[in-house]
Point group: C2
Chain length 441, copies 2
């Protein structure tokens, strides 16, 4: 991707005019037609760079959801559990996600939140490892390694899983995970892409290291699913959990997914063995007997409205390759970094300093750019990132921030254009100068 090689050093462009090099990049973009699949109806010139938090609305979702509500629920009522395919939606939707994360069919089930799925996966992995090593609770394999920079919920849930399985948790930077894994390791819980910095970790290498130490790995792919190629099968992941409302555009709080590697499925011993994971749920048996395959990851009655909105949202991927998405993602983030250098020379604006946290190397970069925004004045005080992001929102550029000091900009290749990127960087420069002046006054 060097189509944007001539993009540096562009002169400032005002209003909603599109910088010529951005226009050229958009003209060459093979995914440009995908933008029409989304509703992006904000005020003129709004740039939405928060798809890493909540993906935009796919245009076909409202009509499909209206049909689900009015015909499937309203008219067919209870019959829809069979006739409208509601009952099998968790696995069917999982199989739609599967190719996006490098999984063969039959290994992903959709349902519950990411946090609940982390619980299933971590407990399931601890039990699996202990069984493989022939050790009971307290007999070894009692340590859960958790990505020290993890999104908080993973850590909270891992500690609960540890408490309930007689294990302990140790926080380890991903870069030290291979070294940390050893004879006491049961499980490593790792974020594929760091939610704060946008750093991409090496799924294959970490998995391999933990496997060599006799442990299993649970990957959190919330910030990589739909943003870049994930190779769960090929890279040996044991369990994975992922979010569907970020780069998969499933809607606010849409159900998460759980991947259990086929080889591990028969021994997956879920801590949440709800009735819909039963081998014969409608037998209403007193005794629990787990179903085979992905269905074992289910718990309660599937949440149909959100599930089918997600299923419809996934149709935007028809005919789209994750590789093309990745190529555009890198081009977008490269372009953004260059434009920020252009519009914020030397990373300074008044007393504010801007430092990219996201790695420059492509192989270590997710699909977001995080910029550390610091106030150079000794006074400190309020988080300047909060003020800067408020200024950006007021001018129609939507990213978000994470305390302390991190501006986050997510790039969704299906609908983010190079013109968006140019405008965002330019507006960031303006806002920084205004805020930096105030900060320095």
């Amino acid at each position: 991707m060097d189509a944007h090689g001539a993009a540096t050093g562009a002169a400032a462009v005002s209003g909603t005019e599109v910088a010529p090099d951005a226009a050229e990049l958009d003209a060459r973009d093979e995914l440009t037609h995908c933008r029409a699949d989304f509703v992006l109806d904000g005020p003129e010139g709004t740039v939405y760079l928060d798809g890493n938090s909540l993906g935009a609305l796919p245009r076909s979702v409202p009509e499909r959801l209206a049909d689900v509500v009015e015909r499937e629920w309203g008219r067919l009522l209870i019959r829809s559990w069979s006739e409208s395919g509601w009952w099998t939606a968790p696995e069917r939707t999982g199989d739609r996600i599967a190719p996006l994360v490098g999984a063969a069919p039959g290994q992903i089930v959709v349902g519950d939140s990411t946090s609940v799925n982390v619980f299933k996966a971590v407990v399931g992995a601890v039990r699996l490892v202990r069984e493989e090593h022939g050790v009971a609770e307290g007999g070894g394999r009692d340590e859960i390694l958790v990505d020290a920079a993890t999104f908080p919920t993973d850590g909270y849930i891992a500690r609960s899983a540890a408490r309930m399985t007689g294990a302990t948790v140790r926080a380890v930077p991903v870069s030290a995970m291979a070294e940390a894994a050893g004879p006491s390791t049961a499980v490593a819980l790792v974020n594929h892409v760091d939610y704060r910095t946008g750093e991409l970790h090496d799924l294959a290498a970490v998995t391999d290291a933990v496997h060599r130490a006799g442990g299993r790995v649970v990957w959190d792919v919330c910030h990589s699913a739909g943003a870049l190629p994930v190779q769960l099968d090929a890279d040996g992941a044991d369990f994975a959990v992922g979010c569907t409302y970020k780069y998969l555009n499933g809607g606010p709080g849409s159900p998460a997914f759980l991947y259990v590697r086929r080889e591990a499925q028969p021994r997956f011993d879920s801590p949440l063995p709800g009735w819909t994971s039963h081998a014969d749920p409608f037998a209403m048996a007193d005794g629990y007997a787990p179903g085979d395959g992905a269905v074992r990851g289910r718990v309660g009655t599937p949440d149909i409205l959100s599930m089918l909105a997600l299923e419809e949202a996934l149709t935007v991927w028809d005919g789209v390759s994750v590789e093309a998405v990745r190529a555009k993602s890198l081009a977008l983030t490269d372009f953004f970094l260059r434009r920020v250098r252009t519009y914020v020379p030397d990373g300074r604006a008044g007393r504010l300093r801007l430092t990219p946290l996201t790695p420059q190397e492509h192989e270590r970069r997710g699909s977001q750019i995080s910029l550390l925004c610091e106030d150079g004045s000794a006074a400190g005080g309020d988080d300047p990132a909060e003020a800067v992001m408020a200024g950006l929102h007021a001018r129609g550029v939507v990213g978000d921030f994470r305390r302390p000091g991190v501006l986050r900009f997510g790039f969704t290749p299906l609908y983010t254009s190079f013109a968006d990127v140019d405008r965002a960087a330019r507006t960031l420069g303006d806002v920084l100068r205004n805020t930096g002046r105030e900060a320095g006054s």
Copy 2:
């Protein structure tokens, strides 16, 4: 409710004609206007008696959900977490359910499935009781009593909760629960209304007995919430979980709710401490610190589409008293039982025998009638209830069945009419005679 005193002995009525006594009962029904709040657009004459499995669609839901999707998600995007009140929806929706189950505000949170909430409640209750008695795992208070006739998922989840807290599970009929509770009891998990038979249990008495034994009670109110008065506060319930897609009409798989008694909230130690239950979730702190109040029952990101559909569905309760619903419910089920006696004299049709499983006494009856349907022939074979229910569906009367042999008919006073009841009983008589002939041929 003796308005239907003259209803017995009605002559058979054909087609979709309404029996005069049913018409009279409908004319006197003070809830009759509520039916217009629902979409009941099946083919002419369809009678829907499966609201105890999936409630009908409230008429205002499609428009509200379209607004949530198209404006709140599609246009406002991430801003809706604050501007559209998404973030606080779990507690706000909980507070709308609260008056229906006799709870003061601030004790109910909506989210996750019933099964996941059973896990939170049972583990939370075990921990609470052990703390109160100053015992550690294995030191006493290690028994979980589970309703022997429970809906299966409660039992499956209770056994998982027991395994993960070093407790054991003992199945006990609700009628023997008071006697079974003793010094080793941690928790009793009881269904308020039996999903199979429709029997209503005495929440106050069972709670009191378990409390006297030093334990706590988790009530499953899936089949009573919205169907009859539930007095969680007044009757001393410690925890309760409930479903919102049955008598609360929230839609297929809509999120469940968790009640944690105010007194127990500060000591509620959830096994699923996800980030949205944190005291300061957006601090993204490494360490977990639980929020105060109902929010402590949260786990992951709230499922907004289903949550707000439910919130809208709950508006049908505006101005409706649960007492009026209960009075009509009892009148409907009384009328149905009488009509079944009329149309199926002596409970016999060919070789088929029909026996009510639901108690005759009002104080022991929920809002459904379960009829055991048996084939008198020694041969046995296929479950006759399945064939009878298929025949009913083919003739536009929608109930469901539970193996072995149970025909279930749910009565939702907000939209079920006495004319529906008459038609259902009459059709049941016809279908039984046809099926009974075949069974006997």
